[in-house]
Structure formats: structure tokens, C-alpha cells
């Protein structure tokens, strides 16, 4: 899935639910847009990050966004891998040092712990489009209502 940038500086769009405004953010890299890579937006430890891998290799490049809308606030975090698994694409869900990914051939879902570099699989088949996964936190409060 190579990507080509065709538009203005709104690679990422963010919506602020309190102010009800949209904010556009440009990706930190323009050079790599023309290369072959797998690519996703991911929450990583409470920050918005972009995770991708070049040329279908089992490693990840991770950028973290400091402030929404500010292109200069991207930090190139690191490259992790290569891992002992088939070609991978990151999925949107990341959490507590974990980056979840989908294996290219089997569609199996796995995750990498960035602090220990361990790769683990979970028993879920993540066939493209058909499956979806979210971080679940329980809350027993009723929906907000007008006073």
C-alpha cells in the first residue's frame, strides 16, 4: 500500500469535541510518502503517533506528535525490529508500550512490547476490514443528561 501525497497539508485531521473545530496536521516526512510502506495512526502512551514500516519489512518506524496541528512537534521516536514474524501492518490500537499489528499472510493479530521487545500473538484473526479491535475500559456511570 504505497501512499502518494496529492493534497494540501492535511494528512491528518483531528476534531476537538469541546471546541467543535477541525485541525489539520502535516505528516513529519514527505520523502517517505513515495516509498512502499504500511502505515497507521496509533495511540501510544497517551500520544498520537504514526507507525509505519518500509518496504514490507517486519520493523517499525515510530513518530510521536507533541501538539495537534504543529508539524514541528513531531519527534522521531525510534525504529524497532526487525521482528521474527511475517510482514506486518500496524493497527490503530496501541496502549502502554504495546503496538498491535496484523500479520500479512495469516492476518493474525499480535503485539510488540516496546520496552521488552517481545512479540506475542493473541488468538484473533484480523482479516482486513472485517475485524476491528478497540481498547476497552469499563465504566458503570449512566450516560450524561441535562440537569
Amino acid at each position: 500500500m504505497p501512499l502518494v501525497d496529492s493534497g494540501p497539508d492535511n494528512d491528518i485531521v483531528s476534531f476537538n469535541f469541546s471546541e467543535e473545530t477541525f485541525i489539520a496536521t502535516t505528516l513529519p516526512f514527505s520523502d517517505v510518502k513515495y516509498r512502499s510502506y504500511r502505515f497507521n495512526l496509533v495511540e501510544l502512551n497517551e500520544s498520537l503517533s504514526v507507525i509505519y514500516n518500509y518496504d514490507m519489512t517486519p520493523d517499525f518506524h515510530i513518530w510521536v506528535l507533541g501538539e495537534v496541528g504543529i508539524k514541528e512537534s513531531w519527534t522521531n521516536l525510534f525504529v524497532v525490529g526487525p521482528y521474527n514474524c511475517s510482514i506486518v501492518s500496524p493497527v490503530t490500537v496501541g496502549n502502554k508500550n504495546r503496538v498491535f499489528f496484523r500479520e500479512e499472510d495469516s492476518y493474525d493479530i499480535g503485539w510488540i512490547d516496546l520496552s521488552t521487545q517481545k512479540v506475542q500473538e493473541i488468538g484473533v484473526n484480523g482479516e482486513l476490514v472485517c475485524s476491528h479491535m478497540v481498547i476497552f475500559k469499563e465504566n458503570f456511570l449512566p450516560f450524561p443528561r441535562n440537569e
Binding site: L3, I12, V13, F17, F22, I122, C130, S131, F136, N139
Partner: protein, 227 residues
């Protein structure tokens, strides 16, 4: 250094995943919660009442989409066809969203909602989506017919439409509007138009779900073209 500081030293092992799996045709879709250090414990969930999967009644159910990357205060936003439902699995409370804010009545929009989030300032759940006419409506104007008890029908209409200006003069032509964004608020239980953002692009469909985080939702846009 940034890397060391960025990574947190310990997991809280209470992270749980909610997974939707879909298989076969007609499709079967299930929902489970995975927990444990390696997500080895699986607990199956029933879909909320408005989206119940009754294969006898309707063998060709539409796929259900979960909006976003995480629950928002324990709440999920689910879309199936044109139905959008807010749902808290822990309390089983749910809310079916009303139909879109529509400049012209009786036209269904063919796109599901795009983003779901929490407004902490007013303690409110909100959903956004971009609406436009289905593509079959594009490229022409549509004539609006008044209700059957409208005085219009008492007029002699024979031959009137030979006058080119007739439909416009009587304000019976519905102009197709440009696509726009609208927002739903749970507390007002209604949609309204978001002004000034008509050009903001929608998420790239299917491949990159939105990320919800800290009162925002974020997405990659369609301006990134996959080739």
C-alpha cells in the same frame, strides 16, 4: 533519551481489548472482550438490542462498525448501515441516534458516522459525520412535490410545466447542497450543521479507523491516495 522517557516502566495489566470478528456470508459477527497478561481470557458479549443478530429474521445482516480505537468513558459508538448506536456494555445502556439534519427531507444518506468523542467541558457525548447525497442524486436538481392537501393541487396545472421557469418560480426545485459536516450531541439528542468546515476530508475508508484520544478524534485523510 526521549525514547526512555516516553516508554512507561510498567504495564497496568488491566488493559482489555474488545474485538469484533466477522466471518462467512451471510456474515456472522461476534463481539468479545479479551483480558489477561497475554489477552488469553475471552468473554463473549451480546450485541446491544438495536443491533441484535437474528439470523432467522434477517439472514443478510449488514456489517457492524465500531467507531474509533478505544471506548470513551466505557462507551462505544456502533454503526450498522444508517443506524448509529451509543452503547455502554457494562451497564447495557444504549441510545439510537436520530436521523441526520437534512436540508431536504426523505433522502437517506449513505455514509455512516465518522467520529465519536467526549466533550469534557459540557459533559456530553458527540458524534460527527460528513453528509452528502448518494451518488445517484448528483449532477441534477430535483423537483419537490407538495403534500396532497397543498393548495398547489387546486390550481390548473395542465400545460404549466411547458413554461421553463414554472418549477423555479414556484420554488419547487430542490437545489442539491454541497457536502457538509454535522454533529450530534447526546444532551440535545439532535444533529446540527458544523459551519465553515465543508472541505475537511473524511477518514480514509475502511483501512484506517479513527483514533480517539483526550477529547479528540484523529484520522488519516483521503488525500493520501493508496496506489
Amino acid at each position: 533519551m526521549f525514547r526512555t522517557n516516553f516508554l512507561i516502566s510498567k504495564h497496568d495489566d488491566e488493559t482489555r481489548l474488545l474485538v469484533k470478528e466477522q466471518s462467512g456470508f451471510p456474515i456472522h459477527q461476534s463481539l468479545s472482550i479479551l483480558s489477561g497478561e497475554r489477552f488469553e481470557n475471552r468473554f463473549n458479549l451480546e450485541w446491544p438490542l438495536p443491533l441484535k443478530q437474528d439470523h432467522n429474521a434477517n439472514p443478510f445482516a449488514l456489517p457492524i462498525f465500531i467507531l474509533g480505537s478505544a471506548t470513551v468513558n466505557g462507551t462505544l459508538c456502533l454503526c450498522q448501515g444508517l443506524t448509529t448506536v451509543l452503547w455502554n456494555p457494562a451497564t447495557a445502556e444504549f441510545k439510537i441516534l436520530p436521523p441526520s439534519f437534512q436540508p431536504a427531507e426523505n433522502i437517506d444518506f449513505n455514509f455512516p458516522s465518522h467520529g465519536f468523542g467526549y466533550d469534557r467541558v459540557t459533559d456530553n457525548y458527540k458524534v460527527i459525520r460528513k453528509v452528502w447525497y448518494p451518488s445517484v442524486f448528483e449532477g441534477c436538481d430535483w423537483v419537490y412535490l407538495p403534500d396532497k392537501d397543498d393548495p398547489f393541487w387546486e390550481r390548473d396545472v395542465h400545460g404549466l410545466d411547458k413554461n421553463d421557469g414554472f418549477w423555479e418560480e414556484n420554488e419547487l426545485v430542490v437545489k442539491l447542497y454541497q457536502p457538509f459536516w454535522e454533529i450530534y450531541s447526546l444532551k440535545s439528542d439532535s444533529w446540527r450543521k458544523l459551519h465553515g468546515f465543508d472541505d475537511m476530508p473524511v477518514p480514509y475508508p475502511g483501512i484506517t479507523p479513527t483514533v480517539n484520544l483526550n477529547g479528540f478524534c484523529h484520522w488519516l485523510t483521503q488525500d493520501l491516495i493508496m496506489i
